[in-house]
């Protein structure tokens, strides 16, 4: 499996070298999808780019020689077990969210998703007629009583010991029972072949349920809490991508959550001080995502009238193609 990857010309020779000589051999920097960029190869375009290495050194190299590598993922078995003695939990402070959707963008960059596929979607919600609307970012809730995992006939979606619910797209048969079962419309289906650009961007990387890519036609995907990032000691893309520090992430066993600003707070205190709640608690799914109520908001109230059911960004011809 890895052998044929190594034998691929140009791009992957860099990968091999990179892996052989260790993580710090060449100047590198992390980009969106948990990828590391390295200089490698002889091709030149004349355009120079700078990369920063973890030890603070700067390397300038040719853009044509730039390539991305990804730390080797954990095995499928390991990915199914999860990280022992951890219980990951997310807190979303609705009072601070200004609906900028930077979290969605960070997520999409991380997972190479198409623009209409929002694993983390920012809804505009309004409880009652007299209430003011508010923004509501909604990732996968990684429920402790997960309706999706219960109905999977082949154990392709599974609950790990660290609380994360993942999908193994090498096992998924595409029956979409989980999509029907999820009350939060969190799951997406790969109706067609994955986008060519994404495939090219990812190269020949090995699949792991922890990174959810490369995606495959006929399988289900969803927000995964970025477990590959967690293994690198980093928070999920949406958490660190939020400029308003809305999203907190951490380990419930440690009773602490951290936001993008690096502020670590006591989870139990955060929830009790702000009357945290879980969305649709009455369904009994026991979500691992908590919300802090949108009171004393610091941004203008969203305009409910501007939210349409249908996003009309596509050209008419594309829409015809869709319906064919």
């Amino acid at each position: 499996m890895s052998e044929d990857k190594i034998n691929e010309p140009n791009k992957n020779s860099g990968r091999r070298n990179f892996l052989k000589f260790g993580a710090l051999a060449t100047g590198l920097t992390l980009v969106g999808g948990g990828l590391q960029k390295v200089f490698s190869g002889e091709k030149g375009t004349g355009e120079k780019v700078r990369l920063l290495s973890p030890d603070g050194k700067v390397y300038e190299g040719d853009k044509g020689n730039l390539c991305e590598v990804r730390p080797l993922p954990v095995s499928n078995e390991e990915a199914r077990k999860g990280i022992p003695n951890k219980k990951f939990v997310m807190v979303i402070d609705l009072a601070k969210c200004d609906g900028c959707k930077k979290c969605t963008e960070a997520c999409q960059a991380m997972h190479y998703t198409e623009s209409d596929r929002e694993w983390l979607k920012v809804f505009t919600m309004k409880e009652a007629e007299a209430d003011a609307p508010y923004y509501f970012p909604k990732p996968c809730f990684h429920c402790d009583n997960p309706p999706c995992t219960k109905v999977c006939p082949v154990n392709a979606t599974f609950k790990r010991q660290d609380g994360i619910v993942l999908i193994d797209n090498e096992r998924c048969i595409g029956c979409r029972s989980c999509m029907a079962a999820c009350p939060y419309s969190t799951r997406f289906f790969n109706w067609s072949h994955p986008d060519q650009k994404q495939t090219a961007a990812l190269g020949n990387i090995k699949y792991s349920p922890e990174q959810s890519v490369p995606r495959r036609m006929g399988t289900v995907e969803k927000c995964d809490f970025c477990p590959d990032m967690i293994r690198q000691g980093k928070m999920p893309a949406c958490v660190s991508g939020c400029p308003m520090n809305v999203i907190y992430f951490g380990d419930q066993n440690e009773d602490a959550v951290t936001n993008a600003a690096g502020v670590t707070v006591k989870l139990s205190k955060l929830l009790s001080d702000n009357a945290g709640y879980r969305h649709l608690e009455e369904l009994g799914t026991e979500p691992r995502v908590y919300y802090l109520p949108p009171k004393n908001r610091k941004y203008p109230v969203p305009d409910m009238d501007k939210v349409d059911r249908v996003k009309n960004t596509k050209k008419p011809t594309e829409m015809v193609m869709d319906n064919m």
Partner: protein, 311 residues
């Protein structure tokens, strides 16, 4: 069990490594957030700070910001920053680096920084001859402090003592008085204040003591990392030191992380028994019928009264 501990330790060590490099790593920045540039160069501001990490490595961080079209300050990325040390009132280039996606340029300071008469050292960060920004300079000076943490693992009062020392005139270290020291506990993605009021000033011995609260969750062995920090001190900058205690509340191991449940790979026994009994019974009946059919096939051509039903 030991397997689990090992992988956990490995994991923690990975995290520790990753945390130290997190701040240095850049990520993609969208194009519309680039600073304005219409012909003339724009103004950039530099905020310079100094850190002494737990491993005594000293870094200088210059945060560069510039106004965008809307007049809002945003990080200036990929900008070269030159760092200087001042020796005999002459600036001496230490290193140059480029800012990351958060607009931060980070360098590791040399072990021996040139000191002035009162034992202060000076760091200067400069933007020079940049294509986008006008030249800018920021200068700070600090004194080197060494921060030590002492604690008695058997202490039931869970007292953590930090000691701050600074270089004396005679080359000996002397206690630093009235320095605010803050106490944190190490968590997965950052450090959390050990208590809301976690700042203690050093006494004349340069010591600050803090009682670690009970019931702070540690790992399965109750191990708890304590981080002691001097933050944004005018004299010493940012200094940090770690210690490990066993004063955390122990995390009880989940005996079976994958119990038989509806959402786990293995089904609850009552469900398995019910389904296998019901359908097992039916299939058992089917086999009885197949058995009978075989008998029909092999039944001998015996009967004398085979006309019972057929005519």
């Amino acid at each position: 069990m030991s397997q689990r501990t090992i992988s956990y330790r490995y994991f923690m060590s990975r995290i520790a490594l990753a945390i130290t490099i997190t701040g240095l790593l850049s990520s993609n920045v969208s194009a519309q957030d680039t600073p304005q540039s219409h012909g003339s160069k724009s103004e950039a501001t530099i905020a310079l700070s100094y850190y002494k990490k737990a491993d005594t490595a000293r870094t200088a961080v210059a945060e560069i910001k510039a106004k965008n079209k809307n007049g809002k300050f945003i990080p200036a990325i990929n900008t070269w920053v030159n760092f200087y040390a001042v020796q005999n009132k002459e600036p001496k280039l230490i290193n140059s680096t480029v800012t990351n996606s958060k607009g931060k340029a980070v360098i590791v300071l040399p072990k021996e920084m040139p000191l002035d008469d009162s034992l202060w050292f000076t760091i200067v960060a400069k933007i020079e001859k940049d294509s986008l920004y006008e030249d800018a300079t920021e200068q700070v000076h600090f004194k080197d402090a060494s921060l030590g943490v002492t604690l008695n693992p058997k202490d039931t009062n869970r007292i953590v003592t930090a000691k701050v020392l600074q270089m004396g005139k005679d080359g000996k270290e002397v206690p630093a008085k009235d320095v605010a020291v803050k106490f944190y506990v190490q968590r997965l993605f950052g450090v959390m204040p050990a208590l809301e009021e976690n700042s203690v000033n050093t006494d004349e011995n340069g010591e600050a003591s803090f009682t670690l609260p009970k019931n702070i969750p540690g790992d399965t062995a109750g191990t708890l990392g304590v981080v002691v920090k001097i933050e944004d001190n005018d004299k010493f900058g940012n200094v940090e030191k770690n210690a490990t205690t066993s004063w955390g509340s122990r995390l009880s191991l989940i005996k079976d992380p994958f119990p038989r449940a509806l959402w786990e790979p293995y089904a609850p026994m009552p469900l398995v028994i019910t389904i296998s009994t019901l359908f097992g019974g039916v299939w058992f009946t089917y086999f009885l019928i197949f058995f009978q059919l075989r008998k029909i096939k092999t039944s001998p051509d015996d009967d004398e009264d085979k006309t019972v039903k057929k005519n």
